[in-house]
Symmetry: C2
Subunit: 259 residues, 2 copies
């Protein structure tokens, strides 16, 4: 939907070129709105203190049973920062994101846990126009990690369902429908079952754990992103595994020269 056409290398070069201004907080570019029109939380990066990944995962696990996947990931990070730092986290409407459940209102699109993580990285580190692209690329890195990981990774301290009842499956997709569907098939458990629900609570905890690992690296100045922007490589916004849906007949996008 956008003008994303940067390879990771280009993004990093761009970030580098802008980083001095960004650090000074005075960067001016054609994307940012006039100062008077900007909201008071639209100054980046937001403050951050390192969090404990396991504690964050426990919060996410339990918050799943209150506001589900997307809200729970956001809450697991922002509710701790509300207590430790106050604003802008106190002004962020965490619970308004309960609707991310079921891949957005039950439509099975993007997994709520991963878009919750993207909301955290982007709202905290800032949009790419601000001169820092780590928010965008860290979010993309989490999308990629999610698709390739046998989930759920995290086992809660006091699980509501015995761990042996929760098989591990690799989604090869950031979509809720595919991630949940592959797990339901492997587990032979229905959508409303306690096992499926606890699986998703643990996926949420797993994403929150990894998110905080990356945010802590970023805070430490040691974050070197693995994130890439798929639309830059494929000539269309997309996942990486074209053949999983298209089979052997993957369409080619119109040539750029045709414009």
């Amino acid at each position: 939907m956008s003008n994303i056409n940067l390879s990771r290398r280009q993004v990093i070069i761009g970030a580098g070129a802008l980083s001095v201004g960004a650090v000074a907080g005075q960067i001016i570019n054609p994307f940012s709105r006039a100062e008077a029109k900007g909201g008071k939380t639209e100054k980046w990066p937001w403050p951050y203190v390192k969090l404990d990944p396991a504690k964050t995962a426990e919060i996410a696990y339990h918050e799943w049973y209150r506001i589900y996947c997307g809200g729970a990931v956001i809450s697991s990070v922002f509710s701790q920062l509300r207590e430790k730092l106050g604003e802008p986290y106190k002004s962020f409407p965490i619970d308004g994101f309960m609707f991310l459940e079921g891949g957005v209102a039950g439509w099975g699109t993007i997994c709520g846990a991963v878009i919750g993580a993207n909301i955290v990285t982007n709202c905290m580190i800032g949009p790419r126009y601000s001169g820092a692209t780590d928010g965008l690329l860290m979010g993309s890195e989490i999308l990629d990690w999610y698709t390739e990981t046998a989930m759920p990774v995290y086992v809660p301290k006091k699980p509501k369902v015995s761990p042996e009842k929760i098989p591990h499956t690799t989604s090869d997709s950031p979509l809720c429908h595919i991630s949940v569907g592959k797990w339901m098939k492997a587990a032979n458990k229905p959508f409303k079952s306690p096992e499926r629900r606890d699986r998703c609570a643990r996926v949420t905890a797993s994403v929150a754990y990894h998110l905080v690992e990356l945010l802590n690296q970023w805070k430490q100045g040691e974050y070197d992103t693995d994130g890439e922007i798929p639309s830059a490589e494929f000539g269309i916004s997309t996942q990486y595994n074209c053949e999983d849906c298209h089979g052997s007949d993957v369409p080619s996008p119109p040539e750029e020269a045709a414009k």
Copy 2:
């Protein structure tokens, strides 16, 4: 990913049962967090004054060229409400949602314009635990409308690309990859072309226009939702058109009795 298992009728009944308490703003239920822990913007519904759909669409169209689809839909509504009402809109980090571009960081998942609209309806009207389900169902109604509508609907006053260069296509999906892919095929234009970019700016404007039509009905007390929760009907979080991806071999989810 969640416990969404309510039919529209059940949701409406649930909303009705809770509505008196919700109006009084004092509803207590097991989902809401302790008052002391809640953020200051987590009281619903947020204030709203009716907006002009065409003006909102124009803002969305131009904002697309600054922060792309998802950010632009949010900005088209919230930036007007910042000026007219102030808080909580001044505290909402609109530009942090630039990452919704390209179906979330170029991954082609949910169209940024429709998740932007869902963020608006849910953050403004509130999560379903607050006793009002119109935010969730209005968002779902917009998802459904988006999939069935020949897009883009809205023609900007001063379009950057001649309207005859922008064909109309029906996505049958809320996913960016499919929506953009079908349009690119019909138009024979590449992802980076001015035509594809302007098409997405107009889709963004179209969604913003319809969003404000529905919000105005809600403000007037006349909103009667067409929104449904697909996961309630299908036993898995999903779109409605199973055969478009699965062909004639649509898998059946495990029986609820199997749990």
